[in-house]
Amino acid sequence: MGKFILKTDSAKKVIDIELEGTFTEEDGLKSIQAYKETISAITPADYQLQIDCRKLNVTAPEVVPLLEGCFIMFKSDGFVRVNLTLENNPVLKMQLSRLGRKAGLENLEIISV
């Protein structure tokens, strides 16, 4: 089961999302709904989006199309910058970088730690 924690820091203009576990399609839809409710109250173009995927099982192939859809959504919402933090995994990093480019998310930075 996937868990998500979503926090808005209005002073620093940052939205922090922590993702954990293995996301089913239902988990994904719930988190997207929560995300949409959060950004409806702000102007995303003023904000930075920071997504911590270190505890997320993103190596599960079924999560990848979900992330691709999210990248398209982040692009259209127009954040100043989108940061994605992963456990050190060069292969996954290259896969997600390509998805980001495909979605036209030019301000995506993937940090491998």
């Binding site: 192939p61 990848v64 060069p90 292969v91 990093k93 290259m94 896969q95 970088s97 390509r98």
Partner: protein
């Protein structure tokens, strides 16, 4: 007639372009004039990885993704993945297995890495085509060639440091009921220079024993006259064409090793291939080793130099060395 044909091809290269001037200055500072060497081989530019994010595997993934997107196929449509590299990023698992994961390949997919050095991708396409002719379970194969030689080149060695470029190519081979496709191939092996290009210089076992110091395990290269492969290549190609009753003038495009422009011209002349038939991309890409004949094919396809049904000839040579040639209908 059913055959194994190239469904499509695509490539990837890093964004940074380096011209000859950079290398000329580098070697001038060492008192070595490489202008003659670069001019003789036909070099002008090459693309080069300039960050820690990219390597031979990332380039392979990009090229593979490009060709899949172009053809509208997905990983699930591929029955065999063959990955050719002399600079594989990993020894295990196979790099083809990693590509399988990245493209969400099917569970029945065969994953193999191969290494025939600079002849690698040509040998892989040849071997996979032969395998597909014998194995009806393989309807579609993805063959990728990718090399990133620069980190392993001795910066005091003009041949390895100044000539190579980074790039990858990926082709999809497909069983097609209505095409001739792959026709025939020939190999010619001569081990007279088997010790002239060795990597890692001290052997893999020593990497484990003594660790890896920067530059310690570069390519060990003893210069030799590479033009001696011209006669072997010409003999091979002449035999190949003659055995299959193919007139040299019916070859529309020749995709040869891009190591040396004079070698391409000499092989063309000795085999009766027209001077404008062999595609040269070594001026733009440098020498991309395993993928070099396929980068040439990509240029021929993208510029409309070749059309479906045209006869296509490949030849290249791997360190040591081994000549590989095959002919097919595009």
């Amino acid at each position: 007639m059913a055959g194994i044909r190239i469904k499509d091809i695509d490539i990837y290269h890093p964004s940074k372009k380096i011209g000859n001037d950079f290398f000329i200055q580098h070697f001038d500072e060492k008192g070595i004039d490489i202008r003659g060497l670069l001019a003789a081989l036909g070099r002008e530019n090459r693309y080069s990885i300039d960050n820690e994010e990219e390597n031979s595997l990332t380039m392979a993934f990009e090229a593979a993704s490009n060709v899949l997107e172009k053809t509208g196929l997905t990983g699930a449509d591929i029955d065999l993945i063959a990955y050719a590299s002399q600079t594989p990023e990993y020894i295990f698992p196979t790099n083809s297995l990693m590509i399988h994961r990245l493209i969400n390949g099917a569970s029945h997919t065969i994953c193999i890495d191969s290494n025939a050095n600079c002849a690698g991708m040509t040998a892989s396409v040849e071997q996979v085509s032969r395998q597909m002719m014998a194995n009806p379970r393989i309807r579609r194969a993805l063959v990728i060639g990718s090399d990133h030689v620069a980190p392993h080149a001795d910066k005091n060695d003009p041949v390895y440091y100044a000539n190579f470029g980074d790039a990858a190519a990926a082709v999809i081979l497909e069983h097609d009921e209505n095409s001739v496709g792959f026709i025939d191939s020939i190999y010619q092996t001569d081990t007279c220079v088997y010790g002239n290009s060795m990597f890692p210089a001290e052997g893999l076992a020593n990497v484990g024993r003594t660790g890896v110091g920067a530059g310690q395990f570069n390519v060990k290269f003893i210069p030799f006259d590479d033009s001696i492969c011209v006669n072997a290549a010409s003999e091979s190609i002449n035999t190949l064409l003659s055995d299959n009753e193919i007139a040299p003038e019916s070859i529309k495009v020749a995709c040869f090793s891009q190591l040396s422009l004079p070698n391409i011209q000499a092989v063309s002349e000795k085999t009766g291939i027209g001077s404008d038939v062999a595609v040269y991309i070594g001026d733009e890409f440098g020498y991309t080793s395993t993928s070099s004949p396929f980068i040439a094919l990509h240029k021929a396809v993208s510029t409309g130099k070749i059309e479906r049904g045209d006869k296509l000839l490949f030849w290249t040579v791997g360190a040591g060395w081994q000549n590989v040639a095959f002919v097919m209908e595009y």
